[in-house]
Amino acid sequence: MWQFSWMFNLIPDFILEYFVHATFLGGVVLTVLGAFADKFPFVGSYAKLARILGGILLVVGIFFEGALSNELRWKAQVAELESKIKVAEEKSQETNENIRVVVKEKIKVIKDVQVVIQDRIIEKEKIIDADCRVAPEAISILNDAARNVKGKQ
């Protein structure tokens, strides 16, 4: 069934609509004409043919009317979803840009603070190192913690 839908996609909407409505209306007209044609002397012999052809066109027309209506509804839903996705992608880009700016600013602040802290250490180096000598064991513990290993007990 969906092969029809797939084929419908290849044809422009206005041609499809024209064709389907024409088939349906042709079916209706031929069926009605076929019903009364045998009452007229010259066209009476075509009444049966008109009824058969009208019946076929009517059935095919109704089927394609349904298919077309479904197709158009489907296309409308696709168009709506596409527009939603476009908006979502724009919002996503905007969010990314905001996050990028915030992260950049925060990292800059952290790096600036780091520079100040390192300068303060250098400034107070003599005072800090004057009365304090760090034992190698303390450094070993600190490095083990940095490496996330238990180290020697």
Binding site: N96, K106, V113, I122, V134, A146
Partner: protein
């Protein structure tokens, strides 16, 4: 022969996969793709407290940067999830 061709064409149509609408996966800012570096270590030969302090404070700075990145990842995920849910 003509009917056979038409039937084959209809049958071939069944092989194609129609995905009418596709939403691409949201991109992550490049700033967030950096992994956290390993912590710096103190030179084992040093006995100066300032050398220890320099490394420890640098590691604190490193942690703060990683914290900012992690927070940004959480914010990115929450925002993108909200945007994605609005489309559904």
């Amino acid at each position: 022969m003509k009917k056979l061709l038409l039937i084959s064409l209809l049958a071939l149509a069944g092989c194609s996969t129609v995905i009418p609408v596709k939403m691409s996966f949201p991109q992550v800012p490049e700033e967030l793709k950096k992994s956290c570096p390993a912590l710096k270590e103190v030179d084992p030969a040093t006995t100066k407290l300032t050398e220890v302090l320099k490394v420890v404070t640098a590691n604190y700075g490193q942690y703060n940067e990683c914290q900012v990145n992690l927070d940004a990842w959480i914010q990115w995920y929450d925002s993108q999830k909200k945007i994605f849910e609005e489309v559904q």
